[in-house]
């Protein structure tokens, strides 16, 4: 033991310093905390960041309102779209009693893994982006609400619409994540019920870059429509490569590609005529839609809101509005949210059923026209001026 006393006392000093620094600063102002969880890093971050900004916008607008009873503070956490990280951050958020309610999750696998945690800690959450039916219908938890519709309904509408346009033979590409796979399952189910036929189904991983082999096979199958269940990055790649192979099929996407990035990614010319379906009333038509777009632009966020930003905004706004009414208590928030009926929000009227699912399923059909996502009914495609890819028989 050569170490002298001075060194040991130095250690002791460091310890004391640590203890002094440990005294937590006291919060000066009374605030109500609300939460947001979604993917902020990795491959799904585009949607997650847009939704984060939108939730943040709801909070900022409320704080700017002098009539607001509380000062709100947003706690945003990153779930990376991984179940284990999701459980981790959900535990962090739910076990923090100061956080009253939260808008959570984009990836269904994460949402499915975390609902038990929210239930255990009795924390009300509104799911803004995950669309797997079991999240609300797989349990009886009063804490779980969801503004966005389920994949089941989306595909019911989608397949009926495609059938009504006279398409019969479909080729399907889906990504192997829960999102793409569930879309495929529901679409195939409804399609067969409605007399259509899936000629070929191709699962691809979400990192795949090259789809020429799949597309060449599809070309040989003689399908009329290429249905794609997945998100924008893959959608862009597939649509671009369809052109490279001279594959003239009607391209039909899901809510996952209804983003400006899809059009800018493939270019307006190629995107023309692409179909997509998105839950909720058409934002462009609602009074709040324009105000949202303008307010979002004013805040100068680094990322666009993306298609699901409105859902995160509506969910967060609903949480805030309800807290304003019943006070910052989780218990009161759960009861009050459960009683919500016909609430007028950015995404249309919202009523929760006994599972907390928004029971007014609205589905808007979109088609790309001149580099813009256009509501189908308003488009020149519906009026007959332009036409989708014709069926060759």
């Amino acid at each position: 033991m050569r170490m002298n006393k001075a060194r040991w006392s130095g250690l002791g000093g460091a310890l004391c310093l640590a203890a002094v620094l440990g005294a937590a600063p006291v919060a000066a102002k009374e605030v109500v905390k609300v939460g947001y969880i979604g993917p902020l890093t990795g491959g799904n971050s585009a949607v997650g960041l847009g939704a984060r900004n939108s939730a943040d916008l709801a909070v900022r607008l409320q704080n700017a309102d002098p009539k607001s009873k509380y000062q709100y503070e947003l706690v945003a956490l990153d779930d990376e779209c991984k179940a284990n990280i999701g459980v981790q951050v959900a535990t962090k958020m739910a076990s923090d009693a100061r956080i009253i309610g939260a808008a959570t999750h984009y990836c269904s696998a994460v949402a499915l893994g975390t609902v038990d945690i929210y239930h255990r800690f009795k924390m009300p959450v509104i799911v803004w982006g995950a669309v797997e039916p079991k999240i609300t219908y797989g349990n009886d938890y009063p804490e779980i609400f969801r503004t966005i519709g389920t994949q089941e309904y989306q595909n019911k509408v989608a397949s009926a619409f495609m059938r009504s346009q006279g398409y019969e033979k479909f080729a399907i590409i889906h990504d192997t994540t829960d999102y793409g796979k569930a879309h495929k399952d529901f679409f195939v189910k409804f399609l067969t019920e409605q007399g259509g036929e899936a000629l070929g189904i191709f699962g691809v991983t979400s990192e795949q870059q090259d789809f020429t082999t799949e597309l060449t096979k599809i070309k040989a199958l003689g399908a009329e429509v290429l249905y794609f269940g997945g998100l924008t990055p893959l959608g862009v790649r597939i649509r671009s490569q369809m052109d490279k192979l001279d594959l003239e099929l009607q391209f039909e996407g899901t809510s996952g590609i209804k983003s400006d990035a899809y059009i800018s990614g493939v270019g307006a010319e190629l995107a023309e005529g692409t179909l997509s379906f998105l839950d909720g009333a058409p934002v462009e038509k609602l009074a709040g839609g324009k105000a949202f777009t303008e307010a979002y632009a004013r805040q100068g966020y680094a990322q666009p809101a993306e298609a699901l930003g409105i859902f995160a905004f509506a969910s967060m706004k609903q949480i805030i509005d309800t807290i304003e009414k019943v006070g910052p208590s989780r218990k009161a928030l759960i009861t009050a949210l459960g009683r919500i009926e016909d609430d007028d929000t950015l995404i249309g009227r919202v009523t929760y059923d006994e599972h907390g699912q928004n029971a007014i399923p609205l589905m808007t059909k979109y088609v790309v026209q001149d580099g813009q996502w256009t509501i189908w009914e308003d488009s020149e495609y519906a009026s007959g001026k332009r036409s989708l890819v014709k069926v060759k028989r």
Binding site: M1, M3, W8, Q88, G113
Partner: protein, 382 residues
């Protein structure tokens, strides 16, 4: 009196360490997190520049048993401090199981030099085994833990032939290919839940339901305390196991195989045999850890067991110092807690985190606590 004095010094060090950890775990806002990170870095630099490190090392080595006991006591102390903080307890549990898994990889790479780029895959095999058995059979949880390890070791033995035939980067590719293959396989196989994964029922053992809050004398504490204790027990067992191996003729033989295969073979040590032993033992340990982790998580899906998670395991081992048992635990704590604390910088957290790890690898290539020459007896001579 020297021993009592030493003991108090050890206790003082342990107290300082755990006080720091307690404060760091408790830190929430960005300023205090930044302050503690700086304090930690500053403290280490101060210790190094005062020349105190060798003295501390000697002290710890001379009083190994006492220090180990102190570490366990300190950890229990942290669990007690955070008894109501579910999140911190969950993080602690994660640190314990990850450490146990990386100790398994340590047996493979650190001792016998068998590289394994599919650690997270075997971790996942353990987890999925536990999920399948708990869902479909009345198998007791303790048995499922063992089964997780056994399945992981058995499936790992498929790789034995190519791993034994190849070496270096070629061998790395074999395990890498396996990691990528397994993740896709889990994602597309319907009967394993596909991309949505599997939910696990809560752990019930000896009549204790692990999902219920812990009640001691009328006070309610987080149910994660129970999981933490289970995970800590696993870690202690794994640690002892790894240390026993290191200090036995087995560890000596494995070291010989790692350092020079040809020389080892010349001295009659069967290279094949020791590589098989290390690889299988390691996978078993990883599998058990994976099974326990999935029980604690109660929900698993393929995205938890990707190639990048395998790389995380290897990075932990490398950062800790390959072959160093204490290094593994320190590095796991670092690699698990830092990204969580970085949640406050949101989308920038992976950028900063990766840059930080990159710098650590470049500036301290031998790891935080490099492996020391072995001692055959606790506190014994070199």
């Amino acid at each position: 009196m020297r021993n009592t004095k030493d003991f108090f010094r050890c206790a003082g060090l342990a107290l300082a360490l755990f006080a720091y950890l307690t404060l760091f775990f408790g830190a929430e806002d960005e300023w205090s997190i930044a302050a503690y990170v700086l304090l930690g870095v500053g403290g280490v630099i101060a210790l190094v520049s005062f020349g105190a490190l060798p003295a501390i090392e000697r002290l710890i080595q001379a009083n190994e048993r006492a220090c180990q006991a102190l570490m366990i006591a300190g950890t229990l102390g942290i669990i007690a401090v955070f008894r109501e903080d579910h999140y911190t307890l969950f993080l602690l549990g994660t640190i314990f199981v990850y450490s146990a898994a990386v100790l398994g990889i340590n047996v493979q790479l650190g001792y016998a030099g068998v590289i394994n780029f599919s650690g997270a895959s075997f971790f996942g095999i353990g987890g999925y085994t536990a999920a399948v058995f708990l869902q479909n059979t009345p198998a007791p949880p303790l048995l499922t833990l063992l089964l997780g390890g056994i399945f992981s070791a058995v499936i790992g033995s498929i790789l034995l032939f190519p791993v034994l035939r190849t070496s270096g980067h070629y061998s790395a590719l074999v395990t890498m290919a396996f990691a990528l293959l397994l993740k896709v396989f889990l994602e597309v196989s319907e009967w394993l839940g596909g991309p949505q994964g599997l939910a696990l029922p809560s752990l019930k053992f000896l009549g204790i339901d692990f999902a219920e809050d812990l009640v001691i004398m009328g006070n309610e504490y987080s149910f994660y305390v129970k999981y933490d204790l289970a995970c800590l027990l696993l870690l202690i067992m794994t640690f002892t196991f790894a240390q026993r191996i290191e200090r036995s003729w087995m560890g000596l033989a494995m070291d010989a195989v790692r350092i020079d295969e040809t020389a080892a073979a010349c001295f009659g040590i069967s290279v094949t045999r020791w590589k098989i032993t290390a690889f299988t033992m390691g996978n078993f340990v990883i599998g058990v850890a994976g099974a326990l982790y999935s029980m604690m998580l109660s929900y698993i899906n393929p995205s938890n067991f990707t190639f990048s998670d395998s790389l995380l395991f290897l990075s932990i081992l490398l950062l800790g110092g390959i072959g160093s048992l204490w290094g593994v635990i320190a590095a796991t704590a670092f690699m698990v807690v830092i990204p969580e604390k970085f949640q406050i910088i949101q989308e920038y957290r992976y950028l900063i985190y990766s840059a930080m790890v990159l710098m650590m690898i470049v500036f301290r290539p031998s790891g935080l606590l490099p492996r020391k020459p072995r001692r055959y007896i606790a506190g014994g001579p070199l």
